[in-house]
Assembly symmetry: C2
Homo-oligomer: 160 residues x 2
């Protein structure tokens, strides 16, 4: 029975954070200091999409600015005032605001917390196989293996 | 360019609600009075999953209690104190709480707002094709056609 394996409901902020802070190769992984993710969807055994509660300390970034080829993403701001960076420039966000990142547009996005207080938001992403990610501002490219694992390359195709 | 077609970010509560309040056949559609959905994912052109901001007036329900065969669902409570009904009984929720409904468990769920104030939550559901939904408490069953349209039947297989 599902009740034996998964909780009925949880308080999101009280859940355990992910232990591994970033899967990026260095020097990028260290740039994710100040970002903490609580994997909420996994707690309930969800397989088709992931949902994380993400906390960004002042100065922290959500990710390298990136665009997915096949997977959609969505964010909803709960606390704080993170800035959303896309090809359109920088858009200030506030609690109750949301944004979606349709796969395949090539428009890279990430969040930067330029505020003095922690920013907290929900992020949703699906698990469509065969995804790739491009990074307009950094020398990195990502391809997803059949088992869902991400591999990172330099833009010239050499491995990290 | 994506910026020409979709907004960069929006205030979720200020977006337009869905015009058609329910796709259930009667008498079930009328039972969804007091439920208002704001389709957020659609605003950004997302195709792999949907995200709605849902508002439940006091006394309103989120849906008939149901379970999906293939599609996962997730909810995050923003305001109010809706109750989550599953096979485990009734679980009181509050802002900051979340729940996930893994496809295929057969454990039906819905939310009932037994509070005196509006309940507001986010709901996420993917769009895995070939889904069906079962309803433990009502004489209804749902199958999804190849184009994603839901068809509703009585439990004996006859059409509504």
């Amino acid at each position: 029975m599902s009740q034996d394996r998964f909780p009925v409901a949880v308080e999101a902020a009280a859940t355990a954070p992910r232990i591994r802070p970033s899967i990026y190769p260095e020097p990028f992984a260290s740039m994710m200091a100040g970002r903490v993710k609580h994997p909420l969807g996994d707690l309930f055994g969800l397989g088709n999409f992931g949902v994380n509660l993400v906390r960004l300390a002042p100065g922290a970034v959500s990710a390298l600015r990136h665009a997915h080829a096949r997977q959609d993403e969505f964010i909803y701001v709960l606390e704080g005032t993170p800035s959303l960076v896309t090809d359109a420039g920088e858009t200030p966000l506030a609690p109750g605001m949301c944004a979606g990142f349709k796969a395949g547009t090539g428009d890279g996005h990430h969040l930067v917390n330029r505020g003095d207080t922690e920013a907290v938001y929900l992020e949703v992403g699906d698990r469509t196989p065969g995804d790739t990610a491009t990074y307009p501002d950094d020398d990195i490219a990502a391809v997803q293996d059949k088992d869902g694992t991400w591999r990172f390359l330099h833009k010239d195709g050499t491995a990290y």
